[in-house]
Subunit: 224 residues, 2 copies
């Protein structure tokens, strides 16, 4: 079945207090996004790669690709005002059917196994997302108090979230809603059942300078 | 008010596939536990420090202290068969009242601010624990399905968990129960209300070789 990936990179860099959006920061000498794109290309060199970027960052990205002589072919798509609208724009750019992975641009350390797990189960069940168990205890908070939960019953959700293209395109035709926390919740609100599979613990979302350093450490450690 | 800290180090090293329990692994040239003890001593040099270790590791720890000329005075206490029993043994060793922090030995990067937040609020409210928001989405799993939750309503729980000594000692006189996921849940089952305060994101629990590398990275970055 034809495979696509939509890599969503909407960050503006405010959280890390840097002028450069985090998807462009250097990790082992290359912008984060190039690692992310390479992870999917290494998994399957025939995959169609779409990269959703804020419109005003597209020229800068082209310059980076030239500078780093980035060889992997991909289609840039202009994002929208929220992540929901960015994904919607991205989906509209995909021409043929099959399966589509939607992945955070700032998760460069997704493993081949995680990508494979998601595509394999989505082929069978139409919608599959990677999850990992919690290491810490977890509490639910209300206005004035909080309660302890049993962490065994909870999972943290990563990307890529892989869907039948038609299913997720239809789901994204719904109106935007604040309870959409990720693509799975959009599909779920539309009536889809979501399968879970194992993610990989180092598949973290880079949101702080420390996260970037963590990824750097992991890349150094995994160099054989 | 008199302050104590009970540092709980029960790990046997099985999860990291190493012969050396993780609390003894070297971080920036020193065993993890020495960093943890130093964090509390730096916060308040008059704090009473109790270290709960499996009985069979106590001799090894004494040797490590000699080898590294570790200068911070502390009282070793033999642990029990579960974390619950280890904490209970530790509490029995504390002689005077006041406030007690219960802290995972393998969280060496707890910040001064986190420790201070917990002690300050516990002085007022008897029980306070540090929490951090979730970066990833979260789902609740059942036997056959899972549902998306709104991550804004959840917090991940760290240590130190700080309590009035009498309160937590009484709480630990309850029978052991499987739903005790941390000290706060023991206190809560006993009827205590738990206050929350801000933890620090780098205050991770070392459970894998990658976590150790992450802590190493953080220490290097924070060296001025």
């Amino acid at each position: 079945m034809k495979k696509h990936v939509l890599i969503v990179a909407g960050g503006s860099g405010q959280r890390m207090k840097t002028q450069i959006p985090k998807q462009f920061l250097l990790l082992d000498g290359k912008p984060v996004l190039m690692h992310t794109i390479s992870a999917f290309y290494s998994y399957d060199s025939s995959i169609s790669i779409y990269l959703v970027l804020p419109e005003k960052q597209m020229e800068y990205w082209q310059k980076l690709c030239k500078k780093h002589q980035f060889p992997i072919s991909h289609t840039p798509v202009a994002g929208g005002k929220t992540r929901f609208h960015s994904v919607k724009n991205g989906l509209a750019a995909v021409k043929t059917g099959g399966l589509i992975a939607i992945h955070d641009g700032v998760r460069p350390l997704v493993s081949r196994q995680t990508i494979e797990n998601c595509f394999r189960k989505a082929e069978e069940k139409q919608a599959c997302i990677p999850v990992v168990p919690l290491i810490d205890s977890i509490r639910k908070i209300n206005d004035k108090q909080s309660i302890a939960l049993d962490r065994k019953n909870y999972r943290l959700v990563q990307t890529p979230q892989v869907f039948d293209l038609q299913l997720i395109t239809n789901a994204y035709s719904q109106n935007y809603c604040e309870t959409f926390t990720d693509d799975a919740s959009v599909a779920e609100t539309f009536g889809a059942e979501i399968e879970l599979t194992n993610g990989n613990s180092e598949n973290i979302k880079i949101t702080t300078a420390l996260d970037l350093a963590i990824c750097e450490t992991f890349l150094l450690k995994s160099d054989k």
